[in-house]
Amino acid sequence: MKIRSSMMGLLPALLFFSLCLALTASANNGGKSKDTSTASTSASHSAQDDSMRAEGEKRYRSNCSRCHAAPPKFAPRMMATIVRHMRVRATLTEQDQRYILHYMTQ
């Protein structure tokens, strides 16, 4: 019981710490985002596309094959539904969802 009460005391502290961390991180990133968007717009579109496709393939191989044989590429609009379904079912991250969708619809 002592362990439980100490855990219940520890969690609000952790919550407070997390909130502070979230606020600090968002404040620090305010200025950086402008630089990043400028950099990304100046980058070559095809190079970016290639790197996204490579990253998408990597994420597709590491995530999809964990449970089942690698599926084929479906038509784009079906793929969008499948990837959304897998984001929920297999708790994919948002980045995984976007990269995999990009790779599977190329």
């Binding site: 991180a25 968002s26 990133n29 590491s62 959304r84 990009h102």
Partner: protein
């Protein structure tokens, strides 16, 4: 015991809040890294509703008893806008077995695996409501469909948990501060429902996991607290690893239930012979498992759980042949070992799936 349940619920709520906040904190850097990826979001692909139909036919021979069972499981996926998804999966099966007169007799069964509405609230949280598969371990949610599972025989520990729940769920996957570690979670609350087709227990619980995309390793833990009847709780751990150099998958799950059920584990390995061109469509699978029934469990209830005896060990070996990504032939042999009795478990069959889109799909690839 009520205090324990209250503490569990509070703990789960506070923990999920911590997870959300930490995700927001550590996710900031990834948001910047993914500035380019944001462009993909609006590249104009509109999701289309469609139905995936799973059909299978299996012949099982368990301790000399032959069963033939054709089954059909349609899954309907309806995306709405960019954030909503409706998922409904039903199941229908006929099981033919010899009756006392020696004639084959069919028993029909049908059910609703899940019927849920998902709302992707943000990059950290997805809300789900309705009837859903209880998020516990990896087998129920990810590996159970017949076209996915490497061995058709269900693990002995599977009936220790309620398969589906009715209520609400918070879930998601986020990079844990770095792309090298992904954190995933699912917390739920379920209400009691006594309808025989969609029966659920009043319970709460959840699962957390850490996935390392580099070494392709996932480890996680699950917890379930029953809020009715004997108010038992179950805890489990799971792990999955796919070594990069070889097409091998190793999985394992352990469950301990405090109620009148038991505990046990399974370890499974699946090897796809993709490195040998002539055998690239073939997959080898093996599983070892042990089940320990609660000492108070009656013989009849042990049998109902699918185990041969109070303490049962089982070893299974299987072969899967992929004709293509939609059609697969499966065969496996297993042997159950219990005190003073052993039994063979043979399974042979085929799984098939096909897609029915309800709208233009945007062309083939």
């Amino acid at each position: 015991m009520k205090t324990f349940a209250r503490v569990t619920i509070k703990f789960a709520s506070l923990f999920s809040l911590c997870v959300l906040c930490l995700g927001m904190a550590f996710g900031q850097d990834n948001a910047l890294k993914d500035a380019g990826v944001a462009a993909i979001k609006d590249e104009g692909i509109k999701a289309v509703p469609f139905m995936v139909n799973y059909a299978s036919y299996f012949t099982r021979v368990t301790a000399g008893q032959v069963q033939a069972s054709p089954s059909f499981a349609p899954l309907l996926l309806v995306p709405l806008g960019n954030k909503w998804l409706i998922e409904v999966k039903g199941s229908y099966a006929d099981t033919f077995a010899r009756n006392s007169k020696g004639n084959y007799e069919g028993t029909m069964s049908y059910g609703l695996a899940y019927a849920q509405v998902d709302y992707i609230a943000n990059r950290y949280v997805t809300l789900a409501a309705g009837r859903f598969i209880t998020p516990f371990g990896i087998y129920g949610e990810r590996l159970a469909p017949s076209w996915i599972r490497a061995l058709q025989a269900t693990p002995l520990i599977n009936p220790l948990l309620s398969g589906s729940s009715l209520g609400g769920m918070l879930r998601g996957g986020v990079p844990a501060g770095t792309d090298k570690v992904h954190f995933n979670y699912a917390f739920y609350f379920s209400a009691n429902n006594t309808n025989h087709i969609v029966a659920t227990d009043r319970s709460t619980g959840g699962r957390i996991g850490f996935f390392l995309p580099g070494p392709r390793l996932e480890i996680g833990a699950s917890f379930q607290q029953l809020l009715q009847a004997d108010r038992s709780h179950s805890a489990g751990i799971h792990a999955e690893w796919q070594p990069n150099p070889i097409p091998l998958t190793l999985r394992s799950e352990y469950i301990h239930s405090s109620g009148l059920k038991g505990s046990g584990y399974w370890i499974e390995s699946v090897y796809r012979l993709s490195q040998i061109p002539a055998l690239r469509r073939l997959e080898l699978a093996g599983r070892a498992q042990q089940f320990y029934a609660d000492p108070k469990l009656t013989k009849a209830l042990v049998g109902k759980l699918g185990a041969l005896g109070r303490d049962t060990n089982e070893a299974d070996f299987g072969l899967n042949y992929y004709f293509n990504s939609d059609i697969r032939a499966c065969a496996s042999y297993g042997r159950q070992f219990a005190l003073k009795k052993n039994a063979n478990v043979w399974v042979m069959g085929i799984t098939y799936r096909f897609f029915t889109p309800f709208g233009p799909t945007g062309g083939g690839l």
